[in-house]
Amino acid sequence: MKAVKFILIGILFGIILYKSEAASWYRIYEMFQFRSFHMYGMIGTALATAIIIVQIIKRKQIKDSNGMQIAFQAKDKSITRYLVGGTIFGLGWALSGACPGPMFALIGSGYWTLGIVLIFAILGTWIYGLLRHKLPH
């Protein structure tokens, strides 16, 4: 039953990504040119809503469906890994126009060439795993 819930949440996510055009290469191109409000409006309202949700969960100590209190993990402190890693991801995001969520929505919508992007994204993560100890974090 739980599996069905996760698939349904994913279906909702995929429909939103496709219909909002957040999965469109054109929108990502335009965003990095700062020429349209569309993506900023979307990320901005997503973030504003998410902030309210997180605050309500924390203040009302809302529990998850298993009865456990919903907890938020603090991210490790660092600058290098976030700045360098983030920049590398940004280069790939702008080139292929897809981040790790939209990639799957696009494969489902029939753009199978995103499968090439996915295979190499898995390979890129693998390379990170191999080189991780040699990289500044």
């Binding site: 429909i15 290469w25 940004g90 494969i107």
Partner: protein
């Protein structure tokens, strides 16, 4: 009537809050909203644990997230085939002109530019897709997250590392679009 409205591209003020709803639904299941973790899990499923301890974990604890991206693909299918008319994304006219000048499009058409995403067997196209993928896979794991894990989950919890990562996303994106595109597509 409603279906006709749904079939048009959704405005940002509808889509944005809905993305936050997805985050809430996952939190309510006791899970975190972050898509790039799946790339690591897929490495583990494929046997990467033999080559690096980074991939040695019980991937079944992450199978819920694989189900989410399976659903995301189904969602893309439903949206494309049942909830869309075939209009192109109406982006800024100057961006369209730039794309024509770069030779990426003849005219604005479809959801993605055909010259990159409709496979024509060229090595150039394969390189764009594969290098794009490598940068995404390497960069997201190095940065510990992508647009969902940092820009939405992290920032909404006021995490400074996520702000630094998002600044990085934009540094990379701006370098690619402004400086590298003219070199790549010239």
């Amino acid at each position: 009537m409603l279906l006709e409205y749904i079939k048009q591209p959704w405005p940002w003020y509808i889509s944005g809050p809905l993305i936050a709803l997805v985050m809430y639904l996952l939190l309510k299941q006791g899970k975190d909203f972050g898509m790039s973790n799946n790339l690591r899990t897929m490495c583990t499923v494929l046997g990467a644990g033999k080559s690096s301890s980074f991939f040695r974990f019980d991937w079944k604890t992450q199978s819920w997230n694989l189900l989410v991206v399976l659903g995301t693909a189904i969602g893309g299918f439903i949206a494309h085939y049942f909830l869309s008319d075939s209009s192109a994304a109406q982006i800024n006219a100057k961006s369209v002109a730039d794309l024509k000048e770069l030779g990426i499009i003849d005219h604005l058409q479809g959801y993605l530019p055909e010259s990159i995403f409709i496979f024509n067997g060229s090595l150039f196209q394969f390189l764009i897709l594969s290098i794009g993928g490598l940068l995404i896979g390497f960069g997201t794991r190095y940065a510990g997250g992508c647009s969902s894990g940092h820009a939405i989950s992290g920032l909404s919890n006021f995490q400074l590392p996520s702000l630094i990562a998002v600044i990085g996303f934009f540094i990379g994106g701006i370098i690619m679009v402004h400086f590298l595109f003219p070199l790549i597509f010239a």
